[in-house]
Point group: C2
Chain length 124, copies 2
DNA sequence: TATAGTGTAATAGTAAAATATAACACTAGG
DNA sequence: CCTAGTGTTATATTTTACTATTACACTATA
């Protein structure tokens, strides 16, 4: 996995697991890969994985069972709220950062539509 | 100034100066505040400011004049390109991050419009 | 020519993140 | 009971960002 060297790795791992859960690759109740396996897959240290997992545990996104593994919460409501929060965070970042560049509400929407259309053209 | 502790301070300062230039608070040819003054204003160390400025110099956004100060480039085209690049970067981040959450093109636009409308309602 | 204001650079120290490594605690199954 | 697989924790080391401090180089001007 590629990491952005401007952001702590443990934090990027946390977001990676968020996504795995939200897109359903990890369903409610599913067991996560073992920490040592995750460390190998992501080519990072076990402690770094553990730090990411610790935060997910604090947030009740996953539940640890000593000797067994870490399991995705069964509470679908928690997951749904997580998804909404992550989406809102992204929108807020875009909005605030573009406003700091003096881009108006209307322009933000226009720029986004243009961006998406241009992407489609490149693909075709 | 408030800093995000997940991102290097020098990097946030660099982006801060980008913005000052793009919104015109710093016009082409303008002299930047002295490095020591910037350090005081931003409550960081001179070396940290200098690190941000060094990168801006490499990118030809500002030009240093030893003994005089740092000056915003006179090349308006460079600034215009910078603005476009920063906007595109933001759009790309949003797009990629939401796609990783399985949000479709149409949904991205809808979510953004809703987000903006909700902001307006809160303000009124 | 002395001085104040500017950029630039070097040194040493601190803190946080990440690593390598090892050990400990618990569970399941032979 | 033993062993393999799991989470959890601790120690020591390295790297990077940041800081504090000092010094040097250049410019303008009194």
């Amino acid at each position: 996995m590629k990491f952005d060297d401007k952001i702590p790795i443990y934090y990027q791992i946390k977001n990676y697991i968020y996504r795995e859960i939200i897109v359903g690759k990890l369903a409610p109740g599913d067991k996560l890969p073992a920490v040592r396996q995750l460390a190998v897959d992501l080519t990072v240290n076990v402690n770094t994985v553990q730090r990411a997992l610790s935060e997910l545990i604090s947030e009740k996104i996953i539940e640890p069972q000593r000797g067994k593994g870490n399991f995705v919460t069964e509470d679908k409501d928690t997951i749904e709220k997580l998804k909404k929060m992550l989406i809102t965070e992204q929108l807020q970042d875009l909005y605030e950062n573009l406003h700091k560049l003096n881009v108006s509400d209307e322009e933000i929407v226009n720029y986004l539509e243009n961006y998406i259309n241009e992407r489609k053209q490149v693909q075709s």
